[in-house]
């Protein structure tokens, strides 16, 4: 039995689907963020394995940039969550109606 790229891609798809379902189901904005992190990580797995199979370091470079963007996204997103929570404690993702003027 040999470890092929497809194994990694299948794992990646599983993690991506779980993250997507979490994003759709959960209402706590923090957990939704964590689901997004899951999806980003699944893509990282795919990047590295595809890079390995093409003998190219580009996949790893892409993962490096994804890591940076994920960190930035978390910083800004959590700042937004804190700012919203200061004004509306117990805010969930369902409270979109408060966006109406």
């Amino acid at each position: 039995m040999e470890l092929t790229t497809n194994w990694y891609l299948v794992l990646s798809i599983f993690v991506f689907s779980i993250g997507a379902v979490g994003l759709m189901v959960r209402r706590n904005p923090l957990v939704m963020f964590m689901s997004v992190e899951l999806m980003l990580n699944s893509v990282n797995i795919a990047f590295v394995s595809l890079g390995t199979s093409l003998n190219d370091v580009g996949g790893q470079i892409a993962v490096f940039f994804v890591l940076v963007v994920a960190a930035v996204e978390v910083v800004v997103g959590l700042a937004l969550i804190v700012a919203i929570n200061r004004r509306h404690p117990d805010a969930t993702a369902d409270d979109l109606s408060t966006l109406r003027g």
């Binding site: 039995m1 040999e2 470890l3 092929t4 790229t5 497809n6 194994w7 990694y8 299948v10 794992l11 798809i13 599983f14 993690v15 991506f16 689907s17 779980i18 993250g19 997507a20 379902v21 759709m24 189901v25 209402r27 706590n28 923090l30 957990v31 963020f33 964590m34 689901s35 992190e37 899951l38 990580n41 990282n44 797995i45 590295v48 595809l50 390995t52 199979s53 093409l54 003998n55 190219d56 370091v57 580009g58 790893q60 993962v63 490096f64 940039f65 890591l67 940076v68 994920a70 960190a71 930035v72 978390v74 910083v75 800004v76 959590l78 969550i81 804190v82 700012a83 004004r87 404690p89």
Partner: protein, 202 residues
Amino acid sequence: MSEVITFIVAAAIIVIGAIGVVASRNPVHSALFLVQTLFGVAIIFLIQDANFLAAVQIMVYAGAIVILFLFVIMLLGVDKSEDLKIDPIAGQRPLAAVIGAALLGLGLTVVLIASDGVTGAVAVSGSDNALDNGLSDVERIGRVLFTDYAFAFEVTAALLTIAVIGAVVLTRRPVAAEMLPDRNPASLELPPLTPATDEEEH
């Protein structure tokens, strides 16, 4: 064979952690399951000789991002565990399950139907960006990152700066509210933010 066993163990860690993130009622448990998943992904990187990325994965993700999550969870109150039994929007969960299953099915079909999973230009053996050029992992990434991807790297620096400034701007209290004398010394609560003061901020 040992690679296969390592992969299966890592995959189990990752998938169990991912399900835990989505299914935990308490956000703290979700964050800890996320750490489990991130460690599994680091193992997957190690199997593929991406040692640098595995280290960065643990330092940046598990060390910084999850800690940031935990900080915010603690800041907003830990005791708010969500009741997963109720479904406030009728049909949200069945619909999410259907879409998730569709995503999974589509992805698996694409990967497993194709006889030759990966197509594309294979890097020239021994070239700068080939994985078999005899350099160490860190040296290879460093060389490519500071030559071919130098511009993207610099844009990354700008992005990080913007994120830091954005976080500070978003979370600081309005100056006007802080300057006001506290009319009720007994309360250590923040004065309520009014939309008017907020608009002056911008």
